[in-house]
């Protein structure tokens, strides 16, 4: 099964129950005493995800309220809304769709149930690879159990050196899954570029031992917000450079939008950071592809590939342009 042409791989991060929309967003509509989020259904018609039960009824209490819209769509089992979120990401250029339901419940069995349900629901909508994302191995296994391999190969998000994650490398091999690997250490988060590289090198050796194909390994050196430490961006970028020098053929990505957490005009920072990351050696990005580029993300991807020697004679870029600004 072909995955995608060589070139920038976009991992859409929007299917995460932590996702929220401000109650003041123009997408939030009030009709007949009810409040909800307007969206376009699969047939093109206007639909509304009802959020009346979770938004405070008192307008004074609504100030600053954020609607957890993905969690709401799950609880209401509103497949049309989920479909609109998935389709918007694909339209914006996502190749892989990340699924994270961790915050829907503190109870493992409930998280696992939601992951199983989500994998099935989203596979009805798209044939794209889904990254089964959880900080709890049990939830990842639940997602893989529900996965229909005839539609696509799954991805595991993510393996690292933390306790309890050892089994995920074997699992990736058993389930023919792509493996996302992050730079978290056994005792704590990495504080420098060197620590990121060291942790990921150790993971690489573990994947070597399990014969995980190089093309199936996605290294994430971990992006932290520059709002709390000005050097976070440099630590990440340096780690990407060093990893790329050591492993020419592995995939390297990051949760790029994390860099701008807590700061205004996040799109500006995210965009610049994405460019810097690609220049440093990233060939994949995990972003909100709908919001995070001033250009359509697909166009950005063609441009980035042309600029980094992945598009001979800029043929793909020109092809994209000729297809009529689609």
């Amino acid at each position: 099964m072909t995955m995608f042409a060589a070139g920038l791989i976009v991992i859409g991060e929007n299917f995460n129950v932590t996702r929220k929309i401000k109650v003041t967003s123009p997408r939030v509509v009030r009709e007949g005493g009810r409040i909800g989020i307007a969206y376009t259904g699969s047939g093109g018609g206007r639909k509304v995800l009802d959020c009346t039960d979770i938004v405070p009824a008192d307008p004074a209490q609504q100030d600053g309220f954020m609607i957890p819209h993905i969690a709401q769509a799950l609880r209401k089992r509103e497949l049309e809304y989920i479909g609109s979120v998935i389709r918007a990401q694909e339209k914006a250029g996502a190749h892989i769709i990340d699924l994270c339901v961790d915050e829907i419940s503190p109870y493992p069995e409930e998280r696992q149930e939601w992951m199983r349900w989500s994998v099935k629901a989203v596979q009805e909508i798209t044939g794209a690879t889904l990254a089964v994302d959880s900080s709890d191995s049990g939830t990842i296994i639940a997602g893989l159990d529900a996965y229909d391999h005839r539609k696509s190969r799954p991805a595991i998000n993510s393996f690292n050196l933390e306790e309890g994650r050892e089994g995920l490398v074997d699992l990736a091999r058993e389930r023919d899954a792509l493996l996302f690997v992050n730079a978290s250490g056994r005792e704590g988060m990495p504080q420098s570029a060197e620590e990121r590289v060291r942790n990921l090198q150790q993971c690489m050796r573990m994947m070597d031992a399990c014969n995980i194909a190089m093309a199936d390994r996605y290294l994430d050196p971990l992006v932290f917000p520059i709002g709390t430490d000005s050097e976070c961006g440099n630590h990440y970028l340096q780690a990407v450079k060093d990893l790329r020098a050591g492993y020419p053929d592995v995939h390297i990505f990051g949760g790029h939008s994390n860099v701008s957490f807590g700061l205004p005009r996040r799109a500006a920072l995210n965009h610049a950071f994405t460019l810097l990351s690609i220049a440093a050696g990233c060939d994949a990005v995990m972003v909100d592809p709908v919001m995070n580029s001033p250009r359509p993300f697909e166009e950005f991807r063609y441009a980035a590939d042309a600029l980094t020697g992945k598009d001979e004679y800029t043929m793909k870029y020109l092809g994209y342009c000729r297809r009529g600004q689609d």
């Binding site: 932590t18 929220k20 954020m66 961790d102 503190p106 005792e187 709390t228 957490f261 807590g262």
Partner: protein, 258 residues
Amino acid sequence: MTTEILSIIDPVTGGTREISGPSNQIAALRELIGLVERGDHNKVPTATEKALETGLSALEVLMNGLQAGLAVVGERFKRQKAFIPEVLMTARAMKAGMPVLKPLLTATQGKPQGVVVLGTVKGDLHDVGRGIVGTMMEGAGFQVHDVGVNVAPEVFIAKIKEVNADIIGMSALLSTTMMMQKATIQALRDAGMRDTVKVMSGGAPVTAAFAEEVGADGWAPDALTAVEAAKVLMGTDWNGKFVSGAALSRARAPAAAC
């Protein structure tokens, strides 16, 4: 010398308060507040010394200068007019003045607002958010002992005993580790310490409802409200009722997910 009036944000109540004094004292405080507000940690030590030279007491310089400067940016953050790095820079500037004042504060004046043990619960390695809470609590006059990440209940308990802590602040940044807060509170009960230490619960996925359900005394959505909630818990008139940080100030964007 003429008497002047300066309007400051009271670091304890968060409300506006007027102070009056000789113009040179007011000018010195105004200068100090401005430097802290702008995060100029290089100039703060000298300005702190200068303020003392005008005859202000160390406590006045602390409350009406350094902490008042921090409060200006804190208030701005609450109204979403300031951002995390600005708050952190201000806290650094405020702390730069402390070595000058510390030796001059009397035992009572220098007594911390409270002694806090902070840590991220077992199984969770996230530390950024907790670090900010620690910085802001120190800025507000708490003595903070940060025990780091992946902290087992027995490690929390040992530290609480060692430093005779008033408050334990637990962070969990993963929905998969939130339950460890409940386990830690249970360990405090088992150790017979639940009534001698106040428990604060926080972290991106932790809601007020969850914190109350697992038996915490207080919860806050971000570092600044955590400070406010801690002050309420330390107050002599606290009645044992659950303190929700969001109810103290306006709801705002959720805390860091990292």
